[in-house]
C-alpha cells in the first residue's frame, strides 16, 4: 500500500475532526501552520531589528543631538537622550544577529521551506511533522532568550554579530560580554538545534516524498534552492555549535581554546595559554560563509519562481540554474578564508581563498544572465511580488559585484572592516534576501491566508523600500573607500571623517523612510489576513502544485488523491495552448518541450519511478547514493 493512499485515508479521517485551539494554532504539526508561525515570528523579530538599526543610525547622523524619546524608551542606555557607547555596540550586535539568523534564516527559509516543500513536491506534510513542530518551538525559545538579554543589567552581547573572542570570552573586556553574552550563546545553540531539525526534515521530504511524476528535474527551482540550503545548513551549523560550545567552555569553565597571552585591564595576566583566537574565526566562518548562501539561496529560488510566473515565460536555463545553485553550494564551503585575509593567516592561504572566492562569481553571473533572459520577450505582469523579485536581481547585481573587490585579498587589505563591507553585504545578502522574502510573502500570501494583499500598498511599499535601500547602502561604498571603519560609535578618530557626517544624515533619513515603508507593509499584511479580498485557488495563474490545493487549508493538503505531475513547472506561454499557463498536474497529450520533458518522447508518463527515466546522470547518481524513491 502506498504511503500516499495511507495519508489520504488519514486526511479523510481528520476532515470532520475538530482540532483543539492548542493543537491547531500553537503546537501544530501542520506544515502550513508552522510556516505561518515562522513568518509571524520572523516579522516580529524583523521589526525589532529594524527599529534597532534606526536607533543607531540616529546616533551616527546626529551624534550631538539629544533625543528625548531615546531616554524615554531606553532609560539608562540613553542618558540625556544620547545613546551610550556600549549600548551602541549592543544594538549593532543584536541587529546583526537578529537579521542574519532570526529573520533571514528562520524567517525566510523556515517560512517558505515549510510552506512550499510539501505543497510543491506533492506531499501530505513534512517527513516528520513532529520534528517540524520542535524546530519552530526551538526557534521561538531561542528568540525569547535573545530578547531576554536586553533586560540583563550589563546589557546584551556587544562584540559584533561575529562575537570574536577574546572580546566576547572575557567578562571584563566589555560590559556586553557578561551575562548578555551567555544568553547570546544559549540562544544561538537553541537556534542551531532548530535549524538542524528543520534541515533534516526538508532534505528527507524532498528526497522521499515527491508525488508521482515529480522527478527531480521537474522540481520547481524554489525546491531546489531550499534543498541545497538545507544541505548547507546541515553541514555547517554543527560547526558553529562546536565553536559556540568551545566559547562557552572558555567563558565558564576555564579552558583556553581561544585564549592565550592576555593581560586584561582590571584583571591582570590571565592563566590561559596555548589557545588561538583565530581558531574561532575559522570555525565561525566555516558556518558564516555558507550562512550567506543559506540566507540568499531561498530568496533566489523564490525569485526564479516569481519571475517565471509573472513574466509568463519558462525560466531560462533551468538546468543551468540548478547547476549554478549546486556550484554555489559546494564553493561556499571552501571560501570562508576570505573573511580572514588580514587576520595573520598565512598569505599563501589568502591566495587560495581569493581564487576560490572569485570563482563563485561565475555561477552568480550565470544566474543573473538567466534572469535577464527570462524577462526578455516576456509579458511582464507587475504584481508586488514581481517587483520585489526584480529588486532582488538589482541588489544581487550591485551587491554581488562589490564582492569581486572584497574577495580580492590585495584590495581587502584596505577595505576590510570598512563601510565598503557594510555596503556590500547589506546589498547582496541583506536587501536582496529581504526582497526575496517580501516577494515570497506577496506571492504566497493567498496560499497562506486564503486572501489577497492590497496591490497598491504593495507598489508603494516596493518603490519606497527599493529607493530607500539604495539611498542607505550605496553611499556607504564611498565611505568605505575613504577608509571609514565600521562599528564606530562616532567618527572622531580622525578629523577627515567629519565630511561624512552629511552623508550619514542622508543615510539615516533614508533608513527612516524605509522604516515608514515597512509600516505600510505591516498594515497591509495584518489587515489582509483578516479583511483582505478572498483569493481564488490559483490567483497568479501559476503552474506549480501548491495552487491545485483548495484555498481553505486542510490537513493533508489535497482532499482526494495527491495529483500526478506530467511536466516541468515552467510551461508558460506555450504556442500550442490558448492559455498562457499549463499546470503541472493537468494531464495532457505531451509532456512539454522544456526542462522536465522525458528524453524519449514515447516514454509512458505514469511510471513508478519517473526519476529513473529522466536519463539524467546526476539524478540517477543521487538516487543510487541516497536510495530514495521519488514517491
Amino acid at each position: 500500500m502506498s504511503t500516499a493512499a495511507a495519508h489520504g485515508a488519514h486526511a479523510d479521517a481528520h476532515e470532520h475532526h475538530h482540532e483543539s485551539f492548542i493543537r491547531k494554532y500553537i503546537f501544530s504539526t501542520d506544515h502550513k501552520m508552522i510556516s505561518r508561525q515562522f513568518l509571524i515570528t520572523g516579522i516580529v523579530m524583523g521589526v525589532i531589528g529594524m527599529v534597532m538599526s534606526i536607533l543607531f543610525r540616529l546616533q551616527l547622523a546626529w551624534p550631538d543631538q539629544k533625543f528625548a524619546i531615546l531616554e524615554m524608551l531606553l532609560g539608562r542606555w540613553a542618558k540625556g537622550g544620547v545613546l551610550d557607547a556600549n549600548f551602541y555596540m549592543a544594538l549593532v550586535t543584536i541587529h546583526g544577529t537578529i537579521m542574519v539568523f532570526y529573520v533571514l534564516t528562520a524567517g525566510l527559509s523556515g517560512t517558505f521551506s515549510n510552506l512550499l516543500i510539501p505543497l510543491q513536491c506533492g506531499a501530505r506534510d513534512m517527513a516528520s511533522p513532529f520534528m517540524n513542530m520542535l524546530s519552530y518551538w526551538f526557534f521561538f525559545l531561542s528568540s525569547v532568550v535573545l530578547c531576554w538579554s536586553f533586560f540583563v543589567e550589563t546589557g546584551p552581547a556587544s562584540a559584533g554579530w561575529t562575537v570574536y573572542p577574546p572580546l566576547s570570552a572575557l567578562e571584563k573586556a566589555m560590559p556586553g560580554s557578561g551575562f548578555g553574552m551567555t544568553l547570546w550563546l544559549v540562544a544561538i545553540a537553541l537556534f542551531i538545534v532548530s535549524a538542524l531539525l528543520g534541515g533534516v526534515n526538508y532534505i528527507s521530504t524532498v528526497l522521499n516524498m515527491r508525488t508521482k511524476g515529480m522527478s527531480m528535474n521537474r522540481l520547481p527551482l524554489t525546491i531546489w534552492a531550499f534543498f541545497f540550503t538545507a544541505i548547507l545548513g546541515l553541514l555547517s551549523f554543527p560547526v558553529l555549535l562546536g565553536a559556540a560550545l568551545f566559547l562557552i567552555f572558555d567563558r565558564s569553565f576555564g579552558t583556553s581554546f581561544y585564549l592565550s597571552d592576555i593581560w586584561l585591564n582590571g584583571v591582570g595576566a590571565l592563566e590561559n595559554v596555548g589557545g588561538s583566537p583565530i581558531l574561532y574565526q575559522h570555525l565561525f566562518w566555516f558556518l558564516g560563509h555558507p550562512e550567506v548562501y543559506i540566507i540568499l539561496m531561498p530568496a533566489l529560488g523564490i525569485t526564479s519562481e516569481v519571475i517565471a510566473t509573472n513574466a509568463r515565460k519558462p525560466i531560462f536555463g533551468y538546468t543551468a540554474m540548478v547547476i549554478s545553485l549546486m556550484g554555489i553550494s559546494i564553493l561556499s564551503f571552501i571560501v570562508w578564508g576570505h573573511h580572514m585575509f588580514i587576520t595573520g593567516m598565512n598569505p599563501f592561504l589568502g591566495s587560495v581563498f581569493m581564487f576560490l572566492t572569485l570563482v563563485i562569481a561565475v555561477p552568480s553571473a550565470v544566474k543573473v544572465f538567466n534572469y535577464l533572459t527570462t524577462l526578455w520577450r516576456g509579458n511582464i505582469r507587475f504584481t508586488p511580488a514581481m517587483l520585489f523579485a526584480i529588486g532582488l536581481v538589482s541588489f544581487f547585481i550591485s551587491g554581488g559585484l562589490t564582492g569581486i573587490y572584497l574577495g580580492n585579498a590585495a584590495l581587502d587589505i584596505n577595505l576590510h572592516d570598512s563601510y565598503f563591507v557594510v555596503a556590500h553585504f547589506h546589498l547582496v545578502m541583506g536587501s536582496a534576501a529581504i526582497f526575496g522574502m517580501f516577494s515570497g510573502i506577496y506571492h504566497w500570501f493567498p496560499k497562506m491566508f486564503g486572501r489577497l494583499m492590497n496591490n497598491t500598498l504593495g507598489y508603494f511599499h516596493f518603490w519606497l523600500t527599493f529607493i530607500a535601500a539604495y539611498l542607505v547602502f550605496f553611499p556607504m561604498h564611498f565611505m568605505g573607500l575613504a577608509g571609514v571603519p565600521r562599528r564606530y560609535y562616532a567618527f572622531s578618530v580622525i578629523p577627515e571623517f567629519n565630511v561624512w557626517l552629511e552623508v550619514n544624515q542622508l543615510i539615516t533619513v533614508a533608513a527612516i523612510m524605509a522604516g515608514f515603508a515597512q509600516v505600510l507593509f505591516l498594515w497591509n499584511f495584518f489587515y489582509s489576513i483578516f479583511r483582505g479580498k478572498k483569493s481564488d485557488a490559483n490567483p497568479w495563474n501559476s503552474n506549480t502544485l501548491e495552487w491545485s490545493t483548495p484555498v481553505e487549508h486542510i490537513h493533508g493538503n489535497w482532499p482526494g488523491e495527491i495529483p500526478t505531475v506530467y511536466r516541468g513547472p515552467y510551461e508558460y506561454s506555450r504556442e500550442d495552448r490558448e492559455e498562457d499557463f499549463y499546470p503541472q498536474h493537468i494531464p495532457g497529450d505531451d509532456e512539454g518541450h522544456g526542462h522536465g520533458a522525458p528524453k524519449t518522447k514515447s516514454a509512458p508518463v505514469h511510471t513508478e519511478e519517473p526519476a529513473a527515466q529522466s536519463g539524467n546522470v546526476l539524478f540517477s547518481a543521487l538516487k543510487k547514493v541516497f536510495g530514495f524513491s521519488p514517491r
Binding site: 557607547a85 533551468y318 561565475v362 538589482s394 580580492n408 578618530v493
Partner: protein
C-alpha cells in the same frame, strides 16, 4: 488583473506621498544646522525639553498621522472601486514608467555619487605598495562598472519594454546552450584575469621579503597604541604578557629589576588576599553593623551597594572570587620565577628600546610593523598607506610597507595644514573602539634622527649624579615614572 486593483484618486495619492515625504524629510531640515564638527565625544547631557525634542515628538506624531491617513485612504479606495467598478490608475503603466524613472534617476544618482563623493575618497597612496592596490582597484572598478551598468539598464529596460499588454504573449524560450556557454566562459575569463592580477599584487605585498626593512613593534591595547623602537643595538628585548605592569612596564618587557619588583608586588598582593579571605567573617560582621546604621531612604545607592557586598560575602561569591584571584596571581608568580633564570629572555636587549606614543617613519625607508596585542583583537588600519593587519593576542603578526610621502607633503597636497597620518583600530574591541589611534609622522632622515634621539630609553644608563629620569613610553594617563623608578638598584641588577 483589474479585479486586483483598487481605485485611487490623484489627490489622495498626492496627499499620501507628500505626507510620507514630509515625515521623512522633517528631521533633515531641522537638524541640518546641527554642529557638523563632531570630533568631540558627545557627553551625556542634562535632560531638558528642547526644540529638537519637540521635533522628535512631532516626528512620531506625524508617523501616527500617516498611518491613519493610509487607513482612511485604503477604505476610500476600496469603496470607490466598488462604486465605479473599474480601476482609476493603470498600475502596469505606472510601474513600467517607474522603472524607467528609476533608471534615469538612479544613473543621475550614481553619477552624482561618483563626482561628488568620489572627490572625498582617499588621495593617491602614500606607500610604495599602495599604488599597486590602487591599480588593482581601478581595473576591478572598470570591469565591474561596465557589468553593473549593462545589467541594471537591461533589467529595467526589459521591465518597461515587455510589460504586460493586451494580446501579447510571451516567447516560449527556455533554453539555449550556446548562449549559456558564452556567458559562463566570458565571466570565467574576466575573473581569471582579475584573479591572476590580484594574486600577483597580493603576493608582492605580503610575500616579498624586504631585507632592508626596519622593524617597529606596535602594541595595541584597550584603548590605545604604543610603538617600540629597537634602540642602538637594533635588537628588540624580549617581552611577555606576564611581565606587564601598567604603571612601570606597560609592554611587559624583560627588564629584570622591573619584573622582580612586579613579582614582589604580586606576592604581597597574594598575601593580602589570603588575609582578606581569612578575615571574611570579621569583615562580614563589621559591614553588617555598618549596614544596620544606614537606611535605604537616607543612603540610597550606598545602601544597596553595601547590601550587595554583604550578600556576596554570605553566599560565598566573595570568597571564591578571592581564591580565583589568588590562584591567578600564583600562576603568574610561578611563570615569572620560571623565566627569571633564562639568559635568553633577560638578555638586556630591552634596556635601550624606546617606547613612544607617536610613530615616526623615514620617507622611502621600508618598515616592518610587528604587531602585539595585550588583551583582545585589534586591527591596525592605515588607510593612507593602504595597510591593515589584525593585532592578535598570543600571536605575532606583521605588515611590511614603505611610506613614500612625508606628512608635510600630504599637508600640501591635501591643502590642509592640520593633516596627520593615523593608525587606528578597525576591529571591534570595546566601548572606546572608535577612539583608539596613534599619530604617524613621516619625515626626512635627519628629522627622524633628531626625534629618536630625544626619546628616552626604557632603562637609562646610570650616570653618577643624574637623578632617576622617567623613561619614555608613557603618556599622560600612565604614570610617567616608569621602569627606572621601580628599579631600586639599576646599576647592580643591570650590570652597569
Amino acid at each position: 488583473m483589474k479585479k486586483m486593483m483598487f481605485g485611487w484618486s490623484g489627490a489622495k495619492l498626492f496627499l499620501l506621498a507628500s505626507l510620507l515625504l514630509t515625515a521623512t524629510l522633517a528631521p533633515l531640515s531641522v537638524f541640518a544646522q546641527a554642529d557638523p564638527a563632531s570630533d568631540v565625544i558627545p557627553a551625556p547631557k542634562e535632560f531638558s525639553l528642547s526644540t529638537s525634542d519637540l521635533v522628535s515628538y512631532a516626528y512620531w506624531v506625524l508617523a501616527l498621522l500617516v498611518l491613519l491617513v493610509i487607513v482612511y485612504i485604503f477604505n476610500i479606495g476600496a469603496a470607490s472601486e466598488k462604486l465605479t467598478g473599474r480601476a482609476v490608475i493603470n498600475w502596469t503603466k505606472v510601474n513600467a514608467w517607474m522603472s524607467i524613472i528609476f533608471l534615469v534617476a538612479g544613473s543621475a544618482g550614481v553619477a552624482y555619487e561618483l563626482i561628488y563623493h568620489g572627490k572625498l575618497l582617499l588621495p593617491e597612496a602614500a606607500s610604495a605598495h599602495g599604488d599597486s592596490i590602487d591599480n588593482m582597484f581601478n581595473w576591478t572598478f572598470g570591469i565591474t562598472f561596465v557589468v553593473f551598468v549593462v545589467t541594471e539598464v537591461l533589467l529595467f529596460y526589459f521591465l518597461f519594454k515587455y510589460r504586460q499588454k493586451e494580446g501579447q504573449k510571451a516567447a516560449y524560450y527556455f533554453h539555449n546552450n550556446q548562449l549559456e556557454i558564452i556567458w559562463t566562459i566570458v565571466p570565467a575569463i574576466v575573473l581569471t584575469f582579475l584573479v591572476l592580477r590580484g594574486y600577483s599584487t597580493w603576493h608582492n605585498i605580503t610575500q616579498t621579503p624586504e631585507p632592508k626593512a626596519k622593524q617597529i613593534e606596535i602594541f595595541g591595547y584597550q584603548f590605545g597604541w604604543k610603538a617600540r623602537y629597537a634602540g642602538d643595538d637594533n635588537k628588540f628585548g624580549e617581552a611577555n604578557f606576564n611581565f606587564i605592569d601598567p604603571a612601570t612596564n606597560e609592554l611587559g618587557l624583560a627588564i629584570k629589576p622591573s619584573v622582580i619588583a612586579l613579582r614582589d608586588t604580586l606576592v604581597a598582593d597574594t598575601g593580602r588576599l589570603g588575609k582578606d579571605l581569612r578575615t571574611l567573617p570579621a569583615i562580614l560582621k563589621q559591614k553588617a553593623d555598618q549596614l544596620s546604621k544606614m537606611s535605604l531612604a537616607a543612603d540610597g545607592k550606598a545602601y544597596t551597594d553595601l547590601e550587595q557586598e554583604l550578600e556576596d560575602i554570605r553566599n560565598g561569591n566573595k570568597a571564591s572570587e578571592l581564591r580565583k584571584m589568588m590562584k591567578r596571581k600564583g600562576v603568574q608568580i610561578q611563570r615569572i620565577n620560571a623565566t627569571l633564570a633564562s639568559k635568553d629572555m633577560f638578555n638586556e636587549a630591552a634596556n635601550d628600546d624606546k617606547v613612544t606614543t607617536e610613530i615616526h617613519l623615514i620617507k622611502d625607508q621600508p618598515y616592518t610593523f610587528r604587531y602585539r596585542a595585550r588583551d583582545v583583537i585589534h586591527s591596525a588600519y592605515m588607510p593612507y598607506f593602504r595597510a591593515q593587519m589584525n593585532v592578535v593576542p598570543g600571536m605575532l603578526t606583521s605588515f611590511t610597507f614603505t611610506p613614500t610621502k612625508t606628512t608635510k607633503q600630504m599637508q600640501d597636497e591635501e591643502k590642509n595644514p592640520e593633516f596627520q597620518f593615523y593608525l587606528f583600530c578597525a576591529k571591534i574591541c570595546g566601548s572606546a573602539h572608535y577612539n583608539m589611534k596613534i599619530k604617524i609622522v613621516v619625515e626626512s632622515e635627519s628629522e627622524y634622527n633628531a626625534w629618536i634621539e630625544k626619546q628616552k630609553r626604557v632603562v637609562e644608563p646610570v650616570q653618577p649624579e643624574a637623578p632617576a629620569a622617567p623613561a619614555a613610553g608613557s603618556d599622560t594617563t600612565a604614570t610617567p615614572k616608569t621602569a627606572i623608578k621601580s628599579n631600586q638598584k639599576p646599576s647592580l641588577a643591570m650590570g652597569f
